[in-house]
């Protein structure tokens, strides 16, 4: 997993709440057996006409937003299906940070397991950032995971909360399986106790 400490990038806004994983990546694109190749299908039905042409009215098809690496969206982002393909698609498109008032549980875990930083901010701050993304072109944010701050050139300075363990993993790009296997003795002990109680 690629570590993330500081990130500065262009912000794109999706003015919607409850953006579900079916929207992030529709099911017809879940059939690949690799972890790669999903970025092209990100927000597929919003991004393309049925005949495959790009939809001009969709933000990620417009000018500098094509290079966006920070996404700001409405509450309950990533609800619905557990498909990790959603996190893969966002990452492969180029996103490193997602900002929203709240996130769905499974998506939050999937993002964390793929080096995608999700940050909860108050609704008013989200709206402020989303507004800036549209008035300042391009609008950039600096996200500092070490100090847990978000700043821009126009005086915005917000701190954010993040689970300390997840922060540690993201900062160092640590693989969760490796970390768990350090506790192999605990797992083996649990299994022995289970076996003994059944015998």
């Amino acid at each position: 997993m690629e570590p993330i400490r500081q990130h500065r990038g262009v912000v794109a806004a999706l003015h919607r709440e409850n953006i579900d994983t079916d929207q992030i990546i529709p099911k017809q694109h879940l059939k690949r057996i690799e972890r790669t190749g999903f970025g092209q299908f990100l927000f597929f039905d919003w991004r393309y006409h049925p005949d495959g042409r790009e939809r001009e009215d969709f933000v990620l098809n417009q000018g500098h937003f094509r290079k966006a690496t920070i996404l700001v969206a409405g509450k309950n982002f990533g609800c619905g299906s557990s498909r990790e393909h959603a996190a893969w698609a966002l990452g492969e498109f180029g996103f490193r940070v997602i900002l929203a008032p709240s996130f769905a549980d499974i998506f939050r875990n999937n993002a964390g397991n793929n080096g995608l930083l999700v940050i909860e901010l108050a609704e008013a701050v989200i709206q402020h950032i989303a507004g800036n993304a549209e008035t300042h072109c391009p609008y950039e944010l600096s996200v500092d995971l070490e100090n847990q701050t978000i700043t821009d050139e126009y005086g915005l300075s917000e701190s954010f909360e993040v689970d300390p363990f997840r922060r540690h993993r993201l900062l160092h790009g640590l693989d969760e399986i490796d970390m768990t296997l350090e506790h192999e003795a605990d797992i083996a002990r649990y299994e022995q106790l289970q076996q003994a109680s059944r015998a």
Binding site: H15, R16, E17, N18, D20, D22, Q23, P26, K27, Q28, L30, K31, R32, I33, E34, R35, D45, P50, G74, K75, N76, C79, G80, S81, S82, R83, E84, H85, A87, S102, A104, D105, I106, N109, N110, N113, N114, E123, D163, P164, F165, E176, I177, M179, T180, L181, H183, D186, I187, Y190, E191, Q194
Partner: protein
Amino acid sequence: MSKPRTLFEKVWDAHVVRAAEGEPTLLYIDLHLVHEVTSPQAFEGLRLASRKVRRPDLTFATIDHNIPTTTDERFVIKDQIAAQQIATLRKNCEATGIPLFDIGSGRQGIVHVIGPELGLTQPGKTIVCGDSHTSTHGAFGALAFGIGTSEVEHVLATQCVSQKKPRSMRISVTGTLPEGTTSKDLVLDIIRRLGTDGGTGYVIEYAGQAVRELTMEERMTVCNMSIECGARAGMIAPDDTTFRYLEGRPYVPQRSAWGEAVARWRTLVTDEGATFDCEIMLDGTKLEPIVTWGTNPGMSIPVTATIPNTSDARDASQRAAMLAALEYMGLEAGTRIEDVTLDRVFIGSCTNGRLEDLRAAARVMRGHKVHAGVDVLVVPGSEAVKRAAEREGLDRIFKEAGAQWREPGCSMCLGMNPDILAPKQRCASTSNRNFEGRQGRDGRTHLVSPATAAAAAITGRFVDVRGWKYRS
């Protein structure tokens, strides 16, 4: 005396492998269910890291998400990418010793239908699967939740998940549900009240007389849709209904071990005096049949109501969501939902593809004909459900009415196989999600109970099934 604990806490505590300050808990997993769509990258990850599947004996696989439901096509899949995904699962299971309930084995089916029917799902177990509707298994008093593919790989390698302990919520439903309403209506009503994120971060225990009176299959429908209000899991304390359902199933303890297991399971109840982070009381006697009108499962109304006006929205953000939903669904505020006509009906899925669901639909459709121009698909949840339904002659009732009787799988619930809606087609569906494009690009999904879906198939529009003229 020890501190009173909730059902959830009892199951959680019994599975803690390691708990350290400032770290997520390492929780042992008793049952890991695997399917073709969310597992190939996990197996590949294991291979690349030269890791082994730690407990193939606690892992079971089946094929459900992308298989076609026509008799000819299910064995000869035309979609080459789907076929490769299925072939990959077979290869992975063979290489790692994971049992696979393959197509035609007699035990294949939707992962959340076969777990319970084989008796793999048991009270007190921790159960995970790379599928958000894993919450279904909580109906047995198990702690069951969906995980992503990286976590699937983590469980394959370590038999554990790394989890922050969720908060607890109890939803108590008093009284008896009225005739003509179902547990699907109940859970849709709960989601409507909580909103699509009201349960986020919680494990919900469903309790109260109305829940106790539900059959196991009805309880599964409720727990199945817990994820639609954002909950990590739904749980119902096991009781005699649970034990009667499980007794004699292939994977449950047999002979003297059965009695011991039941005695152990009986302790899996919330203790008197245990506290929840959130408690909600609902009056079950007021429930009406529910129909969703919008593009998430929280956007619903009673079948007798009209589509809400955007002026009822709580804020600008919700108003925008309602406007977008109305436009996508091709509906106008103020329309009676009973005046909305349909093109398709889908009866099936891990929410409502079990034998009792098919019985409820058949009871409504018996002796009637499907409305002209409505295409009706009935998809049993598993090969076992299909056999049982055919033994009872339910397939004949559906076929005589003019519905299609298909082979088991997830089918049009998510449309990964050829069963999809055409653009702008409107469908009454017994599944769990009405998201944009869920059943096919620009398709319009309304979530309902099997009885309401069956009635809609006959009348060609939504109808209050409480006044249905049953024919025998």
